[in-house]
Structures are given as C-alpha cells and as structure tokens.
C-alpha cells in the first residue's frame, strides 16, 4: 500500500524547481528555496523534498555541511497557508484533528517530521537568513540548524502567532534552550520579529553581517567547518545530537498542534483564512495589522449572561 503524497497537482509538479540542491567542491551542500514570488513559502511537497534532500546529504560522504538559504527578498516566510493540499475533505467545515495530526506529526512538529530531518541530520547544518524568516522557517529550519548566519536587517520570528497562537514559539523546548525563556515567550506572545542583531545578542545567530556580506560569510564559515577532518566532525555532530536528545530538544510540541487546531473556529483565524483566500497571505497580514486586538467573546454580554 502506497503512502499518499500530499499536495496539489501543481505544487507536486514544481517542488523540484522550488527547492534546489547542489554540492560544491568543498564538501558543502546548498539547499536553496526557490519560490521568490511567495517569499519561499513552503508547500507540503517542498517540505517533503527538503526532507529527501537532507537524507541524500546525510548519505553522501563528500558532504560535511548543509546550508539552507533562499532566493529572492526573503529566506522563507514559513509554511504555505493558502494551499489546499488535502487537509480538508469537501463536506467538512474545517480540517479534522485526524488529518491535522498527520500534518503535525509527520510534517511539522513531530519526531518523524520535516524539522526532525534537519535537527537530527548527520551533518553540520547552517541556516543563511535574510529578509523574512518567519513562522515554520523560524522554528522548523533556523532554530533546528546548528549555526545561523543572518543579515543584520533580517526579520526573524513567530509572525504567525498573532492568528495561529503562540504555542510553538513559546513552548518549544529547543527555542527556550536557544533564546532563554523570557525571550522565547516574548517572541511567542507578541509575535514581534527579531532583527539579525537582536537574534545574535539572544544566542540564536552565530554571525550577523551586512546583507551584502551574507553569502560570502556563510560560504567561508561552511568551508572552514567542512575542512575539519571528517572523523572529527562526525564525532562532534554525533556528540551534539546525543546531548540534544538528552535535553529533549526534539520533544514534539503536540500541544502546539492542539492549540492551533482548536483555534480554527476562533474569529481571528477564520477572518485570516477568509482574507488570505481573497487577497493572499500578504493582504491578510496587512489586514491583521489594522486589527486592534483579539476579539473577546464576552464583549457586549452582561455579566452573568
């Protein structure tokens, strides 16, 4: 029995062009997000392709370091949320928890998922950030990589928290370990992005440079690491992966998934999805900025009513 490949016919057809892969002669593999017209938003097939490419890099003895980067204005705006990929059956008003759980466990949050492919890679992983690094790109790629190199004016964070809830950003073990608990909660509960400079000060970013120096700096760092003896690098990566396992940094944030699921009928999310469907995600984010705050379901009701 074959496992279903999720996605629309279009998104399945173009995934190979939307995620590029090449290996230089220095032992560095580059996974390049190439959907610039959508700020490299990740469709389901794009995430599946990244998972497969990381597995290919892991199996390649010539690859020592894997760099994640994006073409266009941004590194990545997160998951494509304006996409029907089979998450909802026609007769259902919203996606079922059953399908939502597959989305969460296999692709987003869980032990077998997309982010695990990065965080448990056998290679040293580097995220090269510019422009927006938002939502899933923040906590499923950047925060899962070993090193982050960022342009100073990057905008990094859980921008989705304002309409999908802050659980992933505030409660994920690895983000708390990387940023510290206060900063993790601030990124979740305010959805305010960090600049590259601030992310450096908080410990997420290893090197923060002007945008024009980003690519050469990342290439130099990746090359220097790749030049270390292979056995030594293998040992260090295995050492880190074991310790990260002990620290439970890969604990599935199932609570985040549940919070997202139960927020689906909330006024903010319904408004957001409706607007996104009409004018795109960018328009929905602009509309969200105009909103003064979360709707209070008790507003207008008399006490005790």
């Amino acid at each position: 029995m074959r496992v279903k490949r999720w996605g629309t016919p279009d998104s399945l057809a173009v995934a190979n062009q939307q995620v590029l892969y090449d290996v230089d002669g220095a032992g560095v593999a580059y996974i390049t997000l190439n959907r610039p017209e959508k700020h490299n938003a990740l469709s389901v097939p794009m995430r599946e392709r990244i998972t497969e490419l990381v597995a290919a890099a892991d199996a390649d003895d010539d690859v020592r370091v894997v760099v994640f980067r994006g073409n266009g204005k941004s590194f990545c705006s997160g998951n494509e949320i304006n996409e029907e990929w089979g998450q909802r059956r026609p007769h259902e008003r919203r996606r079922t928890l059953d399908v939502g759980y597959r989305y969460g466990a296999d692709m987003a949050w869980g032990r077998l998922g997309f982010s695990q492919a990065i965080s448990r890679s056998d290679k040293v992983t580097i995220a090269q950030l510019h422009g927006y690094c938002a939502a899933a790109a923040y906590f499923m790629i950047a925060c899962k990589c070993d090193l982050v190199v960022a342009a100073r004016d990057s905008r990094i964070g859980a921008l989705e928290a304002r309409f999908l809830g802050p659980a992933g950003a505030a409660a994920s073990v690895h983000i708390n370990r990387i940023l510290g608990m206060k900063a993790a909660r601030r990124t979740g509960f305010t959805a305010k992005p960090m600049s590259g400079t601030e992310a450096y000060d908080l410990g997420l970013v290893y090197r923060c440079v002007p945008a024009e120096e980003l690519a050469p700096t990342t290439r130099r760092i990746a090359g220097e690491i790749a030049a270390r003896p292979a056995g030594a690098l293998d040992f260090l990566v295995a050492r880190l992966r074991a310790a990260e396992g002990l620290m439970d940094t890969s604990v599935p944030a199932i609570t985040g998934l549940l919070v997202s699921h139960f927020l689906q009928p909330a006024p903010e999310e319904l408004d957001f999805w409706r607007t996104a469907r009409q004018v795109g995600v960018g328009g929905a984010l602009d509309a969200d900025k105009a909103r003064k705050g979360a709707a209070d379901p008790r507003a207008g009701k008399e006490p005790g009513s």
Binding site: I178, G203, I225, A230, F235, R239, A242
Partner: protein
Amino acid sequence: MIDVKVADWVGTVQVPDFAALTRYDAAFAWELRDTVVALADDSEVKVIVLRADGGDFAPDVPDASPPADRSATWRRVFAGAKGLYQSLAFCKKVVVTEVDGACRGAGSALVLCSDLTVAAETSSFGSPFMTTPEANFVLAALTMRLNRAKAWAVTGDVLDAVRAEEVGLVNQVVPGTALRAEVDALAARVTAMPLDGVTMSKMLLQAVLDAHGVGRDFDLATHYAARRRRAEETEAGPR
C-alpha cells in the same frame, strides 16, 4: 603537585595548571578528585577554589587523546559517577574556577562543572568536546545557551574573555593583576551564606541539573569516547 589550603571557609586547590587532565594523567586526576571530595566533606569549607599558578589555567595539549582502551581506570577516574567531573558538577559546596591565560580541553570541562568563574582579561577558552569526551555538553548548553554551545563545539572557535563573559561562560572578567584578589573577594561573599543553606542548595541543584539531562550526558561518556576512538581510527588523530 596539588597544594591545598583551608582558611575562612574556603578550600583552595592550587596546581601549576590543569593540562594533566587533558593528558589523561589518572594519578593527578584521582588526587584532584579526592581533594575535591575531602573538601566537600569538610564542615569548615563552604567554597572550593580551583587555581592554577603557572600562567595558564589549562594550556593546549596538541596530541591529547583519551585512553586507547576502555580501561577500568579511565571509567573510575574520569567518566564514572564517582570520577572527577561528576564530583565537581554535583559537589555539595560551591566550586569557583579562577582562570588566567589559556583554558583548553579539560580546563574548559572544569569551568563547565564549576558554579562560578572569574577570568583574567587575557584568558581564552577553547571547546573541550574534541579532546575531552567526558566534558558535559548539556552543561555547556545550559550555561551558554544551545546554539552558542553548538557553535563553540563545531567551529573550534576560541572565545576571548570578553566574549566568554557575554555568552555567560564566565561571571566576571578582571585585570590579571586583580584576579586572585577578586576571586578571594567572591569566595568571601559566598562564605557569608549559611553552611546548610549552601549544601541544601547544591543538593537541590543536583536534581535540577539531572532533570535537564546533565547526569544522562555524563552517563554517555563511554559511548562518546568510543565514537571518538572510531574517529581517530578513521584518520590519524582528529583535531
């Protein structure tokens, strides 16, 4: 080789340097371990200071390598629950490291196991994870935050004193001429705490560290050492 002095609630352990630990000198390590345990058991001691008077806290040992076999001595002295590093990390008294000059290999493992660190302006810190597989990465992640600890390990970066203070690896950076006086002053402040308060706090801290995975990372030292030996077999001397 190990000079010990107890005065005013402070037990000071003074050696030329701690590089002998990076060289896996078992006799030195066991004597140091016994000294730490004895001071911890001394009801006249609240603070243990680890001090090197040779200019460098722990200079680099370029050809350092863990013992080739899984010897009982290595397990007992370096990797075991009663070995040196766990005796320090789970010590029931406050441990202070006084770092001058180079701090490499096992020296950085000592810093990670200690409660407080004061460093001279000219000091510098290399990652211990290549030379010293018993070094505790979880302690590094809790001390410096996860990504900084990972970068320290995989890049081979040496942190100068200012950066070490910025990332939280050391508490205080002072001029080299003032180092000893500042450490003595810090130790004196800790001695103002009640003895049982210090001991109870350290016992509680042990449970907290274990909850975060510190003890489990120590438990895997044998596994890490085996991986490192395999790396050495892959190529002559992984550095």
